[in-house]
Every structure is written in structure tokens, then in C-alpha cells.
Symmetry: none
Subunit: 224 residues, 2 copies
């Protein structure tokens, strides 16, 4: 059975090239071709569940809605679909963002079509993670950096992790636990004004701007 794929690229010559080359193979069935993230999401929406592509070849650099943004939205809606990022730049930040967004692989655009085909087969059949060697190298740097810096930072500022005051930490804990301003104020014998001020300061120090974000941060950093 051929693998259902979709191609997303803003440049028509890329779309044509890829779809012609892949379309020649009996192993692939090109469900649709889109020219940006919005176009892609609309076309996905119009499809019957059974016709959804198994693999999406997604260009990273696109106007309107880029590949990373698209993946981060689409993977939530279409958990059965794999997103294979195609990029001309092996840019550290882009790779990192793509990983966070939940892409299933990262290939340089100058990869041979045969390689891309193999990778897609592997992705669907074995669930492997295709990756161009040069990108793998960069991504690895980031992984190691993130692992070591997390602990390196820890080693030096250990207990800290943030520079919140004791009082702010107390407020934060209650906030994360789902109490609203009034309740927190009561629990800490403060006026609700003060609580609000503390929370404003916390947001500012942690560079977030909503309760949801701060709770996420707290869980991620294991402050809870």
C-alpha cells in the first residue's frame, strides 16, 4: 500500500519538483500539495479522516505561517501524522524550535530524493527518525548543551533557578495550586492588592504574562 503524503512548500518549483519525483514512485500517493501553513491546515480539514496523509514534507521557511508554527498546531490535531521538516538552513535555533514543535525528522533540502523516500518508508514502517547527518550533529550539540547547562546552572545557583523572593515563591505556589487572588490573600493574611502586586512582579521576573504560562513553567522546572 502506498504511503499517503502531503507536500508543503511556498516555492512552486520545489512543490513541482518534489511531487513529480515522488509521484513517479508507486510507493507514494500524494494526497495534496499546499503552499503555506494556512493552506495546509485548510486542506487537512477538508479531508476525510481515512485520507489524511501519513507523512507531511514541510518546508520550514515559509511566509504567512511557517513550518514550525504549522507543525506545532497540526500535531495536536492530527496525532497520526508525521511531519518531516525540509530546510535549506541547518540553523540551530530553527532545529531546536522544530524539535520542540514536535517534528518527526529534519532533512536538508539538498538530500537526494532516494534518501527522502527511504526515510519516509522508515518513518511509517518502523517509526524511525530520519535526520540529515549535519543536522543531527547540530541538534546533538543542543541536546548536550541543554543537559549540561541545566546541571551546570544548577551546580552554581542550585536552590535558586529563579530569583524570586521568599514571599514571591509562597505566592507562586498557591497560585500554581489554583487559588485565586482573594484566597491567596486570605491564606497569607495579606490584602488582595499585595497579592496582585507580587504576582505582577513574579510575571515580570519570569517573563510570562498569564497564569497558564506560569503554571506551565512551574511544572517544567519542577518547582511543584
Amino acid at each position: 500500500m502506498p504511503i499517503r503524503i502531503a507536500i508543503v512548500d511556498d516555492k512552486s518549483q520545489n512543490r513541482i519538483l518534489l511531487s513529480e519525483q515522488l509521484g513517479m514512485s508507486m510507493n507514494f500517493n500524494i494526497v495534496f500539495v499546499a503552499k503555506n501553513g494556512v493552506d495546509f491546515l485548510e486542506k487537512m480539514k477538508a479531508l476525510d479522516k481515512k485520507d489524511l496523509p501519513q507523512v507531511v514534507l514541510m518546508d520550514i521557511e515559509m511566509p504567512e505561517m511557517d513550518g514550525i508554527e504549522t507543525v506545532s498546531t497540526a500535531r495536536l490535531i492530527y496525532p497520526g501524522t508525521n511531519f518531516l521538516m525540509l530546510t535549506v538552513f541547518d540553523d540551530d535555533e530553527k532545529i531546536f524550535d522544530a524539535i520542540k514543535a514536535g517534528a518527526s525528522g529534519y532533512l536538508l533540502k539538498d538530500e537526494k530524493t532516494k534518501i527522502i523516500e527511504d526515510y519516509m518508508q522508515q518513518l511509517v514502517e518502523i517509526g524511525g527518525i530520519p535526520m540529515s547527518p549535519s543536522i543531527a550533529r547540530k541538534a546533538m550539540n543542543m541536546l548536550v548543551k541543554s543537559k549540561t547547562s541545566a546541571s551546570a546552572v544548577n551546580a552554581s545557583e542550585e536552590a535558586a533557578g529563579h530569583d524570586l523572593s521568599d514571599r514571591e515563591v509562597e505566592v507562586l505556589k498557591l497560585l500554581v495550586n489554583g487559588y485565586d487572588y482573594k484566597v491567596i490573600a486570605e491564606k497569607l493574611f495579606l490584602s488582595s492588592h499585595t497579592v496582585r502586586k507580587h504576582i505582577a512582579n513574579i510575571y515580570s521576573k519570569l517573563h510570562v504574562s498569564s497564569k497558564a504560562q506560569v503554571i506551565n513553567l512551574a511544572f517544567q522546572k519542577k518547582w511543584v
Copy 2:
């Protein structure tokens, strides 16, 4: 100025081979050679601070105290020292453990001496992260797996634990990620009214009554 290095390997032939090859170069100064983790730590302790090795070539497979265990201890005591793991096996778990332990690089033992020299130079001078390509590939798999498995697992067993509809789950995920109503509506091509309705239904089904509570629940139940 030559780079100060130490070599840790349980097999004497490896120690001799490496130290002879690296010792020939004027770029390296072999401070000491140790035959296991305990031996290494003792020799480090005996050294004057200014004589501490800048790079330690550490075999992973060793009796007594293996390379990973040694690194995880030593890096806390000697933050200025880089640990470059040498291994014959590009074993997934070993690599992962080494990363967690805080090694600065991972080379296969059959790497040419020239490569190892280059990597060490790079490590000290630029702070780069040397890594054999085949290991980088494996480690990358792990990184991506760890990032994507969260959602892959979600997709399969998310139904368990609650009786939310598919659409509600989508909304919930975005909500937990910190997006507000308007943004969620945009991302899902819905009116904000609908999103609000979904969220009200979610709250009702999950018996919560605020964003903070639902995010907590989501983290606790590992829906994220």
C-alpha cells in the same frame, strides 16, 4: 600552551596506546593516567588546582567505578574540567546516561587519533561538543523520541482517564499550553464562542472550575 589531559581506561594497552600517541604531540601534556574511576578521583585529589587536567578522556566500560558514574561525581567537584567519553559500543542507554551525567563529548574508540586531538582542541578553545557521527545520530533519536513520545503516547491512551470528546481534547491541549480563548479559536478555526463552550464543557466533565485547576490536572494525569 599545551592542553593538560588525563586518560582513564581499565585496559593497559589502551592507556599505553593513547598516551604514546597523544604524548608525541607538543599540543598535549598528559597529567596522569588512571585505570578506573576510583583511581582517577584519587589522582585528581592529589593535584594542585592549577595542574588539574582540562580534558579527561574517559572510557565508559570499566570495572570498580565506570566512566559514567565517575563523571557524574567528578564534574561537580571539578567544574573546569571537560570529560570526553570513549566507548566501543554506541549503546543508546549508555549515551543517554552519559549525557545526563554531564559528559562534554562522546567518541567511538576507533576514531583516529588525529580526530580525537582536533576534538580536544576544539573542546578547550571553542567549547565545542565533540561527537562521533554515529553516536550523534543515536542520541538525536533519543532526543526526538523524548520530545515526541509524549504526544504519541497521548494519542493512544489519552482516551483513558477521562471521557472528553476529540475536539475537547484538542482544546484542552491548547488551553494547557497557555493559549487564551482567542488564540485557540484562531488555531482551530473556530469562533471564540465555541471555544468557550468547549472549555465550559471540559470543566464540567473534569469537575474543575478554573484554568489553573485544569492545567494542574493535566500535568498530574500526564496528559502533557
